[in-house]
Amino acid sequence: MTGDGTGPGTGPVTGGAGTGPVSGAGAGRLAGRAAVITGAARGLGRACALAFAREGADLMLLDVAGELPGVPYPLGSASQLAHTADLCREAGSAVLTRQADVRDLAALEAAADASEERFGRIDVLVNNAGIAAPSGRPAHEITEAEWQLMIDVDLGGAWRAIRAVGARMVAQGSGSIVNVASTAGLVGYRHFAGYVAAKHGLVGLTKAVALDYAPRKVRVNAVCPGSVRDDEAMEGRMLAEIARSLEVPVAVHEETFVRDQPMNALVEPGDVADAVLWLATDASRQVTGSVVTVDGGFTAR
């Protein structure tokens, strides 16, 4: 319909009555869907955001976008978060960004409120935010503060985000939550007790919440990436930080990790994003409480 509802000579006015949530949305496996992604400034978070944007999703991108006391390496920045948002907009998404620490429940709830108000719904939550260090010491050398920080971010953060969006998904009777765990959620790594415990906990959280939400068709799954290459475009640095914790020379860390890979190659961020995307879409309608491992065969041994 074309009309002029606001007075003469003021430019075109268009309008229409919509009856469904997605009738004007374009193509793509996530067209008309809204997703919340934590840790979206860089790395796997950016890779997932871009993969979602290409499939037509609209996005609420969250990141701590600043330093965390006790984490020995720089975390995602506000500039990196804005860059992820720009990339997603160029792919056709509507994007909201918020600076939020996953240890801050109120911040996550505010972000969830804003997402719903802006997009009308929340269909997907990707719990990607996480830290790899402080690590690199045996269990008895971990301090109370280090332990708390690791558990609070890597395990508690996912639970808080679920708390912020879960009720909406349950009310709407649909939704997909993807927790980005790690092969450290499946096997142990020497000198990574806190990280391994948190990621194992995240796998357990996934299974338990999957059962909580299953009757309401809200799905909860975990993806366990193995050694992911620090892709330059994604600005990832997790593998380098793990290497640093293990006192592997950072200059040659890729070769060191490849040696342990049955497929003789590191995992690419896009490989992980594809698995997350599959779990986010209706292609995995009956998949819940499951763990999808993307590790090039590392944990198969």
């Binding site: 319909m1 509802g5 229409g16 009555a17 919509g18 949305a25 907009r89 056709g92 108000e117």
Partner: protein, 860 residues
């Protein structure tokens, strides 16, 4: 119920700032909805030029995005990539989306004007409650609603269509905010005979409380209602609605609605072309000429097998020549009708050929039909003579040589059930039959290597296909005798023994045969199965495909009518169709055409239901001695300069965009039972002829389940004054006049038939049918009741199959609603339950439970 949400996209000026707009929104919201949740302004950078497709997609996405629950309004400012371009800066767009239960479309415009600074927020009046609706429609809107209803009616084949029309609230203050406007229901009556003026005068009504708006809907606008645009928003093409609107504008008030057509001439022509299947020009032949060519080509090849006898083409030809001489000697002359009442045998086929050689027309009379019915049919047809014993035709001198008639002259007359109560004789010329064989010869790969069966009665035109399909392609025809056709196991054995390659069956019979094939030691080796005569339920074929893959045995479903020479369309059925439960009957044969027309003979819109009308090479000459009926059903093709005729089938169909036809059933109450089309009207007519009957009604039930054996005919009669109340003689008389598949299972005597207010029969109020004799009253012998032996087991089988609760030894299988398919089921169940088999022949000979048990006991 209002629409779920509205949206409005407004282009702002280039110099508007986010802060100013946000402030205006906040100020207005606080004034209008103090203390309520305030809408926020969301700014979205769109890294693409305002005029780009990407920007258009973003606008569409924002406009259709749901409003979060608990919010009445969302405001999104889209700023484009070319916003700061020198000289031609793109202005931002404001997309306002409102919850339809809070704000209507006009309210949204008021909000937009305020945010653009064209209107002071103080001038606006927020209203909470609903206002009464103004149901008066202007002429434009009436016309548009009428046009939409008419077009939708044409697509749905419906004569009543409801359209939702947006109407404003009455006494709406200027600049009001709220969910105030609503819609009215425009219930259009499109019944035949209605005029343009009557339709336009339709009074809109307010929807009932809680009523969903009808789909289709018109859209609100400032002026009259408008058509919604955009993909999927209308069930019909908007252009056609507009065409009808124009036609409404220019037609006279008294014009019939049937004179309006949403299809353009080109669209109508397209629909007609879709169902046309021209054939390459071929020389048309008489059947006997085409047969003679096969005799000349391969005189020694086997032509016809019955039992242990096989005739070569030359022998069959010689036999037919001899019989033709006999026909001549008995006075048969060119054009005469000759009744053929012969059992399935080599002589049945030879006699058919003989009649054709004598340049006469054969009229098959099924020896299994009651003698009275056969006599009536022969008398009605005016046959010169009826051949019942071929011996009387042998030993006569050769007939004089004479040129035979043209290929367009009649070859046979087959009688089909008629709604007027009398069977109608369909007159089919030679050329139709030879054209039919030519139409499929190549596609079906028909060759002298093929062996066919003649399974069907000569009185059912499926046999025309079987006989001439074999003999005009050099194949061998194996005639199955009566008892073999009634036993799937025996027939299966015949198929294996004779290495039959081309098989024709009704779907019901094929289901029984496939069951026999499952348990038989050797599977059949057919390469082609032609299914026809009744609608196909494709799903049960899956099991057949498991044993006979499609690349080894092709299954073809053919739709056809006696009046169009056996077949019209063909569809190869595959696993895909079986899984989909396809109703497609495929495309017309080359040389045949199908059209789907409305009651006024116009092509219906694509995919809409209508009457299947058949044209082309198969259209029969008409009904014998029934000029009025012929003129009604065989109509001149208005598009054919040669004036060839079309046959109006009375079948409901749908022509799909790929040119395939879906068969949706009979338009009238005609039903198909085991491949025979019957009309309750004919049965009723026979009942009404009975002097003891003053009124009669017939119901046919169970046909929709796709199980031919479950089809049940029940009759209700009102005795004539002074006549007795015993339905027995009524049924017995009907059984003498009707073929077995049309004899009612029950006849119930009623004091009067229930009628509707219009004086028509109210079938829904007929009582449950009673059996002619109450089986409970027939006392079962005490011994038999407690016996657990074969007799009791057989009684249990009868109860299961016939659906009765108790049964006595004197109860008659046929009186309890038995039919031949039930008989086969009894045989199958008996074998499954370890009883001696129940040969069909035995059931015919001893049809009561007691007699049958005794007969079976004697055998074991």
């Amino acid at each position: 119920m209002p629409p779920v949400q509205h949206s409005l996209t407004v282009r702002l000026s280039t110099n508007v700032t986010d802060a100013a707009l946000d402030a205006a929104l906040t100020a207005a919201a606080e004034l209008w909805w103090p203390g309520d949740r305030r809408p926020r302004l969301w700014t979205e950078p769109v890294p693409a030029p305002a005029a780009s497709d990407a920007a258009a997609r973003r606008r569409a996405a924002e406009a259709s995005r749901p409003v979060a629950s608990g919010h009445r309004l969302r405001a999104v400012l889209l700023r484009y990539g070319d916003e700061r371009r020198e000289g031609a800066a793109a202005a931002p767009d404001l997309v306002l989306t409102a919850d339809g239960s809070a704000l209507d479309a006009r309210s949204l415009r008021v909000v937009a004007r305020v945010l653009r600074g064209d209107l002071a927020p103080e001038a606006v009046t927020p209203l909470a409650g609903p206002l009464p609706l103004d149901l008066r429609l202007d002429e434009e809107t009436r016309r548009l609603a009428s046009a939409l209803a008419l077009t939708v009616g044409r697509y749905e084949g419906a004569s009543a269509v409801r359209v939702a029309v947006p109407v404003p609230a009455r006494d709406r203050p200027p600049y009001a905010l709220g969910a105030l406007d609503g819609y009215a229901v425009f219930a259009a009556d499109l019944s035949p005979g209605r005029t343009v003026a009557q339709l336009l005068a339709t009074e809109p009504v307010a929807p009932a409380v809680g009523e969903e708006p009808p789909s289709p809907e018109l859209m609100a606008s400032d002026g009259p209602a408008v058509l919604p645009t955009g993909p999927g928003t209308l069930p019909v093409p908007a252009r056609q609605v507009d065409d009808i609107r124009q036609q409404l504008l220019t037609s006279t008030p008294n014009a019939r609605l049937s004179q309006l057509n949403p299809l353009s001439e080109a669209e109508s022509a397209e629909q007609l072309a879709l169902g046309a299947r021209p054939a390459p020009p071929a020389s048309s032949l008489r059947i006997d000429e085409a047969f003679a060519a096969q005799v000349a080509a391969r005189p020694e090849a086997p032509a016809l097998t019955a039992g242990s006898t096989t005739l070569s083409y030359a022998e069959l030809d010689a036999r037919a020549e001899a019989l033709a001489d006999g026909l001549y000697a008995r006075g048969v002359r060119p054009g005469d009708l000759v009744g053929l009442c012969l059992p399935r045998s080599t002589d049945l086929v030879a006699a058919m050929l003989a009649v054709l050689k004598a340049d006469a027309v054969h009229v098959p009379l099924d020896p299994e039909h009651p003698a009275d019915r056969r006599e009536r049919t022969a008398r009605d047809a005016g046959v010169r003579l009826t051949v019942e014993d071929p011996a009387t035709l042998t030993g006569h001198p050769p007939r004089p040589a004479a040129p035979r008639g043209e290929p367009g002259s009649p070859a046979y007359v087959i009688h089909t059930s008629g709604s007027t109560g009398r069977p109608k004789g369909v007159v089919v010329p030679h050329a139709n039959v030879t054209a039919l064989v030519d139409a499929v010869r190549e596609d079906f790969g028909l060759s002298p290597d093929d062996t066919w069966t003649c399974f069907h009665s000569a009185a059912f035109d499926f046999s025309v296909w079987e006989i001439w399909g074999a003999l005009l392609t050099g194949g061998r025809l194996v005639v199955a005798d009566h008892w073999t056709t009634r036993s799937p196991e025996d027939f299966h054995a015949l198929l294996v023994r004779e290495r039959v390659s081309v098989l024709s069956q009704t779907p019901s019979a094929f289901t029984q045969l496939a069951a026999a094939d499952r348990t038989a030691p050797d599977p059949v080796g057919t390469r082609l199965v032609v299914l026809g005569g009744e609608p196909l339920g494709a799903r049960p074929l899956l099991d057949w495909f498991d044993r006979h893959p499609e690349d080894r045995c092709r299954l073809v479903n053919m739709y056809g009518i006696t009046e169009t020479t056996v077949h019209v369309t063909a569809a190869t059925v595959t696993r895909r169709d079986a899984l989909a439960g396809s109703r497609s009957v495929g495309r017309p044969l080359p040389g045949w055409s199908v059209r789907v027309l409305d009651a006024h003979g116009r092509p219906v819109p694509p995919g809409a239901p209508g009457e299947i009308v058949v044209g082309g090479a198969g259209v029969a000459l008409g009904y014998l001695n029934r000029p009025a009926l012929t003129a009604e059903r065989f109509v001149p093709d208005p598009l054919d300069p040669a004036g060839r005729r079309l046959y109006r089938s009375g079948d409901l169909g749908r022509l799909l965009p790929d040119g395939t036809l879906e068969h949706l059933g009979r338009i009238d109450d005609q039903v198909q039972v085991r491949g025979f089309r019957i009309e309750p009207g004919e049965i009723r007519h026979v009942l009404l002829e009975d002097p003891a009957v003053s009124a009669a009604a017939v119901t046919v039930t169970g046909g929709d389940a796709g199980d031919a054996a479950a089809v049940r005919i029940d009759a209700y009669v009102v005795p004539a004054p002074g006549a007795g109340e015993d339905p027995g003689p009524v049924r017995e008389r009907a059984a003498r006049l009707l073929p077995p598949h049309m004899v009612p299972a029950t006849v119930t005597v009623l004091p009067a038939l229930p009628l509707t207010a219009n004086g028509k029969l109210d079938a829904a109020r007929l009582p449950a049918p009673g059996t002619r004799r109450d089986p409970v009253t027939a006392p079962a012998p005490a011994a038999a009741a407690h016996e657990a032996g074969p007799a009791a087991a057989l009684a249990a089988i009868w109860c299961d199959v016939l659906g009765v609760e108790t049964i006595g030894p004197d109860d008659d299988f046929w009186d309890l609603g038995g039919n031949s398919l039930y008989a086969i089921r009894i045989g199958t169940l008996a074998r499954e339950r370890g009883l001696p088999g129940v040969p069909l022949r035995q059931l015919y000979l001893t049809p009561t439970l007691g007699a049958l048990s005794e007969a079976l006991a004697r055998k074991t």
